[in-house]
C-alpha cells in the first residue's frame, strides 16, 4: 500500500484522504482550438478512474498534461492534494506518475528482462567495472510478472513473441515496480482482441489491488465499466459528465458515449444508401436495434 501524507482536504474530495493525482478545472488551447475546457478528474489509491471519449475528445491532451509533457493553460494539477507544476515527464515520473503508452512501451526484438529494466538496469560491481546483474534482473522480473498473474518460464524470450496483452503486462508491471503510484494507461485495449482485452483489464485490477491509482483512457465503455470506480466522459474537449459507479449504469454510459441518436441516424443513412444490398440492410437493421437497446427513449425501429 502506498504511503499517503496527510494534507488539507481539497474541496472536491468527499473522503478524508486526498487524491493521489487530481486535475482541477484544467483547460488547454492550441491557438484558437480548444483542446480541453474546464476538465476535472481525480484518482485515489486503490481506485480506477476511467476517461472515456471518442477520437478528438481531448484524451491525448489530457494524458500529456497529467504526465507532465506540457502544463495546462488554466487550472491546476495536484499531487497528494498539493498544487504542482511538472517541469517535464521525468519530473512526473519522479513523483510516481507513470504513463504507459500503447505503442511505445517495449522494444520487440529485446528479451523480456532486458525490456523490463531498460533505462534502469540493475548492476553489480566486479572489480572496477559495473556489470549487469543478470540473475537479479531475471528473478525480479519473474517475481513482478507473477504478481500480474503471468508465469515467465524463459526470461530471454523476446517481447515481440508475446501477445499484445502480455506486452502491456510487461509495461504495467515495470511501471509498478519502479515506484509508480499512479498509472496512466493510454488505450491499453484498443489494438487487442476480446480475450487479450480481458487479460489487460485484469492487470488493471491487479494494479488497483496493489494500492495504485489507475487512470484508464479508453473509448470502449464495455472495457471501462467493469473495472472503473469513476467515469469522466469527454467530448470535444468538454466534460460531458462525471460519475461514480453507482451513479451510472453500463447502458447509460454506452448511450452517452456512442449516442443512441447517432446510431439511429447512421442506420437511417445506411438503409437509404443500400436499398438494393441485403448485406447493408442487415447492418442497418442491427444498428437500429442497437440504438433502440441502448436508448429506450429514442426508439426508431
Amino acid at each position: 500500500m502506498t504511503e499517503i501524507t496527510p494534507a488539507p482536504t481539497p474541496a472536491l474530495d468527499t473522503t478524508a484522504r486526498p487524491a493521489l493525482l487530481e486535475a482541477r478545472h484544467v483547460s488547454k488551447y492550441f491557438g484558437s482550438v480548444i483542446a480541453l475546457k474546464d476538465v476535472s478528474l481525480q484518482v485515489r489509491a486503490g481506485e480506477v478512474t476511467c476517461v472515456l471519449g471518442d477520437n478528438g475528445a481531448g484524451k491525448s491532451s489530457l494524458i500529456k498534461i497529467l504526465s507532465g509533457v506540457f502544463p495546462p493553460d488554466e487550472g491546476e494539477i495536484l499531487v497528494d492534494g498539493e498544487s504542482t507544476t511538472f517541469a517535464g515527464p521525468r519530473e512526473a515520473r519522479a513523483q510516481g506518475i507513470a504513463t504507459v503508452f500503447q505503442d511505445l512501451a517495449t522494444v520487440p526484438m529485446m528479451s523480456i528482462w532486458r525490456n523490463f529494466f531498460l533505462g534502469q538496469e540493475p548492476t553489480r560491481r566486479v572489480g572496477p567495472i559495473n556489470l549487469l546483474d543478470l540473475d537479479r534482473a531475471k528473478a525480479t522480473m519473474k517475481a513482478e510478472m507473477a504478481k500480474m498473474g503471468i508465469d515467465v518460464s524463459d526470461p530471454n524470450q523476446n517481447v515481440g513473441t508475446l501477445s499484445g496483452g502480455e506486452r502491456q503486462a510487461v509495461a504495467i508491471s515495470r511501471a509498478v515496480y519502479f515506484g509508480a503510484r499512479v498509472l496512466i494507461l493510454d488505450e491499453p485495449t484498443s489494438a487487442l482482441g476480446v480475450r487479450q482485452s480481458g487479460i489487460v483489464l485484469r492487470y488493471v485490477i491487479q494494479a488497483r489491488d496493489m494500492g495504485r491509482g489507475v487512470i484508464l483512457i479508453t473509448h470502449n465503455p464495455h472495457h471501462a465499466y467493469p473495472v472503473g470506480d469513476q467515469f469522466v466522459l469527454l467530448k470535444l474537449g468538454h466534460v460531458l459528465g462525471s460519475f461514480t459507479k453507482d451513479e451510472i449504469s453500463i447502458t447509460d454510459l454506452t448511450q452517452m458515449m456512442a449516442g443512441g441518436e447517432e446510431l439511429a441516424q447512421l442506420s437511417h443513412e445506411l438503409r437509404r444508401m443500400g436499398a438494393d444490398q441485403p448485406a447493408l440492410q442487415q447492418v442497418a437493421r442491427e444498428l437500429a436495434e442497437e440504438a433502440a437497446r441502448t436508448a429506450p427513449g429514442n426508439s426508431e425501429a
Partner: protein, 357 residues
Amino acid sequence: MDVTLPPGQPAPAAAPNGRVVSARLGTRLLRRPEVGAALAAIAIFMIFAVDPVSRELWLSQNGLVGWLSQAWQFGIMAVPVGLLMIGGEFDLSAGVMTGSAAILMGLLAKGFGWNIWLCIALSAVFAIVVGLINGLLVVKTRLPSFIVTLATFFVLRGTSVGLVEALNSNSTVVTVLTPPPGTDVARAVFGGSIGSAPAYPIAVAWWLIVTVVGTFLLSRTTFGNWVFAAGGDPNAARNVGVPVGSTKIVLFIGTALGGWLVGTIQFTAGLSAVSEQGVGYELYYIVAAVVGGCLLTGGYGSVVGASIGAAIIGMALQGVIYAGWPSQWGFAFLGVLLLFGVVVNAVTYRQAQRARR
C-alpha cells in the same frame, strides 16, 4: 470487442491464458543469431577440406595461417561494425579509416621522426575525432548514417590521397626507412607474429580480444542494453530514459577506433602505409556482420556472429585460391553467402516479431 468482466473475479495465477510459452531448446538454439553463421562456417571449412586440390594445404598449419591472415582484419572491424549495426546505424567510412589511420602514423613518423607510440596515440585521437564527427552528424541531423558516413568516406579518401601525394613526392606509399624509437615493442604488440614457418600474426589475438570485449559489452553491460534498444526502437528507448544519441556516438567512435587498431597493426608490421588501403573493405565488414546475424534494420545481432562472419570471408577468399579456382569466384561465393545471411536474418526477424494472438 466487448469484454464484460464480472467484478471480483479472481485473476488466475499462471492460468493458461496468462502464461508465456517457452520454446523448445532446439528452436531456442536456432533462434540465436550466431548459430546460422557457425553452421555456414563449418560448411565452408568442409568444402575446402574435401576439395582434392585444396585439401592438403587447407588442413595444414600453413593453410590455417593463410586464411587467418586474411580474416583478422575483417574480424577486428566486424565487431564494432556489428555493434553499430545492432545500434541501428552504418559506417561506410570504416574501411578507409584503417588506411587513413596508418597513413597518419606514417606521415608523422617519417616527417618528424617521433616516437612511434606518440604517432599511434595521435592517430587514435584522430580516429576518435572522426567517430565523434560521424556520430554527432548522424544524431544531430537525423540523416541516414549511410549518407553521412559515405560523405566521410570520400573526405577521408580524398584527403589521405591528396596529403600523401603532396607530402610524399607524388608516391602513394609512405615508407619509414629509419625505424622510429619504440618500433620493436610496438611491432611485438601489434604488427608482429609468433613462430616462424607458420607465423601466426599477433593480430589474430587482437581479433579474439576485440570479439570477447564486444560480446561482453553487448550482453553484460548497461551500455549493451542501450545498444539493443537504440537500434530496436529508439522512441521506446528514449521514453524509458535511454540516452540514444550518446549511445550511437560512442558506437561510431568504436568503429573509428577499430579502424585505428587495424591501421596500427598494418603500419607497425612493415612501417609503411598505402594511401588507398582499406577502401572498399567497409562492405566486407557489413557482409560479415550480416552473415553473422546482425539485422540490417538494427536491434538484433551478435558480436560472436559477426566475428564468425569475418572468418567465413577469410576462408572463402583464401580457400578459392588454394583450390585453384579463378579468384573472381571468391566474390560470387561472398555474394551467395550474403544472400543466405540476409534470408536467414529475415526469417529470424519474423520469428521474433511474430506475436501470439
